[in-house]
């Protein structure tokens, strides 16, 4: 069902295997028998067990209360599980009564102390000499000169506003907003002009801050910006001592009610004069003053604090469901990082939206929290506020501006009850679209009634790096100032009080969205964080707010096109197109005779095509915003280096895989058309990772240099030579070949084997005769050399698994029993081809699948755990990221897919859940429920890691023997460590540093290291850190005469490992990275080092010593260490024993 905390899910670390074993067995026996017990005890050991209720309890007469609750659950929530989960979550985030009391007491003290702050006599605004030295004005006073005077008087009214009062604030950071109404004496007419009000507001806070900071009662007194708006500082007060983290009280000064005339603050009005702002004399021409909608909104917001709280209070009233709904929505927004910063979609907005929906009767006060969440998401998903704004105002006053007026100046429109204030004034169109996108995803998730919908919806964080395919960092931010000038955004700067980040954000995202066109699904931007600073510091500058990060969600369909087609040359739009693309736009004649403007991007390989958005973004930013590419840090293809073949620079193997698959297609066509076989070929199916695009390093056509090998002329084969370095590794690609049905097959397992062997021989003959292919037949397969690729064809007889399964009882009844041999055969000839074709199909649907699966596999192997997992299980894990991407969208880049792979591995609760991979969507919701049920019932018999597919609903074939609990646990730990490291690297705007860091395995845990000589490692060049030089592997760079069968599957490290595992598998575990690893890690099994009484069958590698008069067996470690060197003669360079743990 969802994440489990690391370390809790699977017992036992890798360091102490055996002890833990499977914690499952013991537990399942003691099943909770009675309801009482089930309630009283926690599920033992964090493991779910099937519930058993007695008949009596199941069928007793229901009480009214019970019926009510059941009905309520059915109506208000869609399942009882969801109801319980929601209740549990609300309990967690809600503020306890005890804490509320403490906060109330603190608030009372605060208001007392504010009243005690002394007044100061009146002074000019520009004369700030009265301010004490220990405090700075929390506002950038640019330009400094401004008319008006200021004096401090204690506030006329202190009111608590916002979520705390409404009971909708959620943990962990509790904020209490307090509005301080400044006495009318402080303000003067025309204070709305030229930031005078904001200057006074800031001075008011500065004076307050100085005096409050002298009180030891407060733990900290700091400044911050209200919702990130840098004209509106606020003062943060925190209690002293252990309560410091309990609450943050935010003080917002505001004008007296009715001080400002609302008609002066309409979005069409100007309140910042150009002459004052730009510091020039009289304006050179009589150009009209530009409107200042944002500036006006910020003043209006201050005037409406109290009335808005009252409105919400009346709507929410005592409707607990609405409050719950708002709390849930806040959690939802927070998990998606939508609620923070300037222009964030914060809790206040969502509360107002709930109020709006109540007024529109879309939500009713009796609804449950879950229903409110659903209704709001539904509304967001279907309503585009950037086109059709909404308003809480009911009045039909003709003097009020219409919605269209607001749409003209604000990207998103949601008006308050007066019809003058736009709640969404600072929200950018991108932010709203992101909210909408998330709402749509969430609705789809809720509608699918997925079992773990709650987890995915509310408990899964969606940080930008894991949610978006590509990430762009813009740094330093001061470049945006130049961008504002290039984009001619002076009125916007004037409106935003000089905040060039906010001013440039909207136009920049619009340009990029237009330029990326069909490649783009969604563009999101980070919102500058809200800073906090000490009262004796200058307020932070705009450029200090770090980095602007853009997230691109790509559309796989249009992503790889190298051509952006423009209008025909004689159309008037052509000029716009040319202007938009600058020098990249060219006139081109197309095959249909049209002459059009077009932009062509250079991309030689598939992986470069996937990075075309990088070219687009850097080009457009440089052209339109004057941001050079040194300031644009594009994060999209850094991980490609890990799956690039040796000596490759630009491509990541997509082409090589496609070439191999094409060759396979040719071969299968040849096989279908073969004549001269006793039975014709009915089906050819691939059964190799290459044929499902998940081989980390795809094969290249082999062109052996004959002088490098020993020849075996009579078999037309090449053999390795001891005096040369190990030849290149060629792995044959397995292909399963089915023959047409026939009654002539023998019905005896041994005889079937012989007949199959005869078919293999015949197949080799026929292929050589009819198509001149070099073949080599053995009893189980035929190797075929075609165009430099080697395929291993296995003839399969459909009924063979059945024959192996038949058991004849003494009475002559034939029944079917699975045997290891039948299961293996069925897996290899039936399930594996099915899986391969399903994943092949997945690749056609999601082009990023190959990259993700290969990166994931590469990482697991690089951690030396590759042999602990079957290839297929890792491929299925990668497939799950695409088929069950919720709450994300299926990845469109290897990078984001790999991050989610790490997240999945590190958080999935393998103990209590099967990973269901719904290939081809064959499983219905009921099927999945059934799978989960049978999983719970049979948990103890199933492997530690369970992956179910439509073809394999009960047994989890691909994880049957591997991994062990310890290996899985090790993988979980490593993934949990790698994920934050890699995310931090990728989110670092200065560049990721060494991207291979997380791929290097930790070696300090191993007891013995066997260092291998690179001379005999055929895949040495594939290592994570590719060697500067390696050995010649007997390959030609030019195609030569290739009529001899190359050396197949000869990999000394693998042969060595097989020997080690066979001889010492009881004593130690062996770890190795098959992709060019230079070291084998050996881990002694601690239990096998306990002295044991002599037993003839388990003497393997032990010696008998006398211990305290008793004869016991202990491993003969010294001899074994020397055996390591003996068995690997020529391959092993040194044996390094690193620990004394084996001392017995």
């Amino acid at each position: 069902m969802g994440p489990a905390p690391a370390g809790e899910q699977l017992r036992g670390a890798a360091g102490e295997p055996e002890v833990s074993g499977l914690a499952l067995e013991g537990v399942s026996k003691e099943k909770a028998t009675s309801r009482k017990r089930a309630k009283a005890e926690r599920p033992a050991d964090g493991l779910l067990q099937p519930v058993k209720l007695s008949r009596e309890e199941l069928y007793k007469e229901p009480t009214n209360e019970e019926l009510n609750r059941l009905r309520e659950t059915e109506i208000l929530f869609h399942s009882s599980l969801l109801r319980l989960q929601v209740e549990e979550l609300l309990k967690e985030v809600r503020l306890s009564e005890k804490k509320k009391e403490r906060i109330d007491a603190f608030l009372k003290e605060v208001s007392l102390r504010i009243q005690r702050v002394p007044s100061v006599p009146e002074a000019e605004l520009t004369d700030q000499s009265w301010l004490p030295a220990g405090v700075r004005v929390p506002l950038h006073q640019v330009p400094y000169a401004v008319k008006g005077s200021f004096r401090f008087l204690p506030p006329s009214q202190i009111t608590v506003v916002g979520s705390y009062l409404l009971g909708t604030c959620i943990r962990p950071d509790i904020n209490v907003d307090v509005a301080l109404t400044m006495p009318r004496e402080i303000l003067q007419d025309k204070d709305g002009l030229n930031q005078r009000y904001f200057r006074k507001r800031a001075l008011y806070l500065a004076h307050l801050a100085y005096h409050l900071a002298r009180e030891p009662f407060f733990g900290s007194v700091r400044f911050s910006y209200t919702n990130g708006c840098h004209l509106k500082p606020s003062l943060l007060l925190r209690p002293h001592g252990k309560d410091e983290r309990l609450v943050t009280v935010r003080l917002h000064p505001c004008p007296p009610v009715d001080f400002f005339r609302p008609c002066r603050l309409l979005p069409t009005k100007n309140n910042v004069r150009s002459a004052w702002y730009r510091g020039q004399g009289a304006p050179e021409s009589a150009s009209p003053e530009p409107p200042t909608p944002h500036y006006n909104t910020w003043i209006l917001q201050d005037t409406a604090l109290d009335s808005q709280t009252q409105l919400l209070a009346t709507v929410l009233g005592s409707a607990q469901g609405l409050k719950d709904g708002i709390a849930l929505l806040k959690v939802w927004l927070r998990q998606r990082e939508l609620d923070k910063g300037l222009g964030g979609f914060n809790g206040f907005l969502i509360s107002m939206l709930v109020a709006f929906l109540v007024s529109k009767r879309k939500i009713h006060a009796t609804m449950s929290g879950y229903q409110v969440l659903r209704s709001v998401l539904q509304f967001l998903a279907t309503t585009d506020l950037t086109v059709n704004g909404i308003s809480l105002s009911l009045s039909s006053d003709p003097s009020l501006p219409v919605l269209a007026d607001f749409h003209r100046v604000f990207p998103v429109v949601f008006l308050d009850s007066t019809g003058r204030l736009n709640f969404c004034a600072d929200v950018t169109a991108s932010t709203y679209h992101q909210v909408q996108h998330e709402a749509q995803l969430s609705m789809a998730l809720l509608d699918s009634k997925a079992d773990d919908g709650f987890q995915l919806l509310l408990m899964t964080p969606k940080p930008m790096i894991r949610a978006f395919d590509h990430i762009v960092h813009l740094r330093p931010l001061s470049r945006l100032q130049a961008a504002c000038h290039r984009l001619k955004l002076w009125p916007e700067l004037q409106d935003n009080g000089g905040d060039y980040v906010a001013a440039a954000l909207g136009p920049l995202t619009t340009i990029l969205e237009q330029g990326l066109g069909t490649r783009l699904h969604l563009l999101a931007h980070s919102r500058p964080p809200v800073p906090e600073w000490d009262i004796n510091k200058e307020p932070p500058k705009h450029k200090d707010s770090g980095t602007l990060t853009l997230g691109l969600l790509l559309r796989p369909e249009g992503l790889t096109s190298v051509l952006d087609l423009g209008p025909e040359a004689d159309q008037p739009e052509a000029a716009d197109f040319r202007q938009f693309w600058g020098s990249r736009s060219e006139l081109r004649r197309f095959q249909d005779g049209a002459i059009r403007e077009a932009v062509v991007w250079e991309a030689a390989s598939m992986s470069e095509k996937h990075l075309i958005p990088q070219q687009v973004v850097t080009h457009l930013l440089a052209l339109h915003a004057d941001i050079p590419d040194t300031c644009v840090h594009y994060v999209g293809g850094f991980l490609n280096a890990l799956i690039q073949g040796p000596k490759e620079i630009s491509n990541t193997g997509e082409e090589a895989l496609a070439l191999a698959v094409r060759c396979y297609d040719d071969l299968s066509r040849l096989l279908w058309g073969l004549e001269g076989l006793p039975l014709t070929v009915s089906a050819v199916q691939g059964a190799h990772p290459v044929l499902r695009y998940t081989e980390v390093f795809p094969p290249a056509p082999v062109r052996p240099a004959y002088s490098f090998y020993k020849h075996l002329q009579e078999r037309a084969s090449l053999l390795p030579r001891p005096d040369k370095p190990c030849p290149a590794y060629v792995e044959p690609m397995t292909v399963v070949c089915h023959l047409e049905g026939s009654g002539q097959w023998p019905q005896d397992a041994e005889a079937v084997k012989r007949v199959r062997a005869a078919f293999q021989l015949r197949l080799a003959e026929v292929l050589t005769e009819q198509h001149g292919l070099q073949c080599r037949a053995t009893a189980t397969h035929t190797d075929v050399l075609k165009d430099g690729f080697v395929f291993r064809i296995r003839v399969a007889y459909q009924r063979e698994p059945q024959i192996l399964r038949e058991v004849r009882s003494p009475e002559g009844m034939i029944s079917m029993r699975d045997t290891p041999a039948s299961l293996r055969l069925e897996r290899d000839t039936k399930l594996l081809p099915l899986l391969t074709s399903a994943l092949h199909g997945l690749q056609q649907q999601h082009p990023a699948f190959s990259g993700v699966a290969r990166l994931a596999k590469r990482w697991v192997r690089a951690q030396l755990l590759g042999e602990g997992f079957t290839d297929e299980s890792l491929d299925l894990l990668a497939a799950a990221l695409f088929l069950h991407a919720e709450p994300f969208t299926p990845p469109s880049s290897p990078q984001v897919g790999f991050l989610r792979f790490l997240y999945l591995v590190s958080t999935f609760d393998w103990k209590n859940n099967p990973l269901i991979v719904n290939l081809n969507s064959e499983l219905t919701a009921e099927d999945q429920v059934e799978i989960r049920r049978s999983f719970l019932a049979a948990r103890a018999q199933l492997p530690v890691m369970v992956i179910m597919t439509p073809q394999d609903r009960r047994s989890s074939v691909w994880t049957q023997d591997r991994p062990s609990a310890q290996i899985l646990q090790q993988l979980v730990i490593l993934a949990a460590e790698a994920l934050p490291v890699l995310e931090k690297q990728l989110m670092d705007p200065r560049g990721p540093g060494d991207i291979r860091t997380v791929f290097r395995p930790p070696l300090d845990m191993y007891d013995v290291l066997l260092h291998l000589t690179p001379r005999h490692i055929p895949r040495h060049r594939q290592a994570v850190d590719p060697p500067a030089a390696s050995f010649c592997r007997g390959l030609l760079s030019e195609p030569g005469p290739s009529s001899l069968m190359p050396v197949l599957g000869y990999d000394p490290p693998q042969l060595y490992l097989a020997q080690l595992r066979e001889a010492f598998g009881d004593l130690a575990l062996f770890f190795y990275d098959q992709h060019g690893g230079e070291v084998i890690g050996v881990l002694w099994k601690p239990t096998s080092f306990q002295p044991q009484p002599f037993k003839a069958s388990s003497i393997k590698g032990h010696m008998v010593v006398s211990r305290g008069g008793e004869l016991v067996m202990v491993p003969n470690v010294e001899a074994i260490l020397e055996d390591f060197a003996v068995l690997g003669e020529g391959l092993v360079q040194s044996v390094e024993a690193r620990s004394e743990r084996w001392t017995v």
Binding site: L47, L81, V755, G1101, E1122, V1135
Partner: protein
Amino acid sequence: METAAPESGTTTPVHPCASVHKMVARKKKAGACGPEGSVSSPLGYSAIPVKFSEKQKASHYLYVRQHRVRQDTQSTWPPNRTLFVLNVPPYCTEECLSRLLSSCGAIKTVELQEKPELAESPKEPKSKFFHPKPVPGFRVAYVVFQKPSGVSAALNLKSPMLVSTESHPVKSGIHKWISDYEDSVFDPEALRVEVDTFMEAYDKKIAEEETKAKEEEGVPDEEGWVKVTRRGRRPVLPRTEAASLRVLEREKRKRARKELLNFYAWQHRETKMEHLAQLRKKFEEDKQRIELMRAQRKFRPY
């Protein structure tokens, strides 16, 4: 370590032993292990040290004794002439063992096995095409001498045995793998011959069985029973579990079709109760799940 990529392959051979020796020496100083001289051996066995070659310092021990079985069990090994050997290292082959023990007397056979087995393996050698040799680990061996004196001589062996010597080198590592690879490239003609002989024998066997079955067809046995087979004029259902299950299933379906659903009031009541029971069960399950999630702190959205 070489870093260049020499085409000629004239690099110096690598000696993995040097560092091992150092390590072992360190271990000796720790002195945790029993001293070399006082080798213990379990009751009835005697220990013979065995090393791969001169170069190795530490040795494994073969534990040998005369092959004996309990009274009631059968064994095909001749009891007084057979030596039972435990803990044969992976690099030690049959030939090698035979050479090492030949000093004790003439040897008839040497057989290496995964685990102790009382019976001799079938005389007919397993086909190398269909049963490839497994990767060797530590094994047991049954060595049959020509004379009983060989066994007693072997029990008194004390000097360390060397598996690989100057005169009889045993391949290991790269050399062994290369020769294994060479062996795996065999002549398809041999395979064909083997398959053909097997199938001929098989066909003959099947034909015999069929003629026998045909003869018995319709002929009553001594009690008068006639065996009915699939091949008869009126074929019957095959006697398989699947077939009988199929029949049962069909019967069940037939019966279910005839039954009326929710027709009587009591049926209605029962359906409702059943639904309620299902909900209750689900609720219990959910509660258990919540309990687990709470224990795992899964309700903290931060």
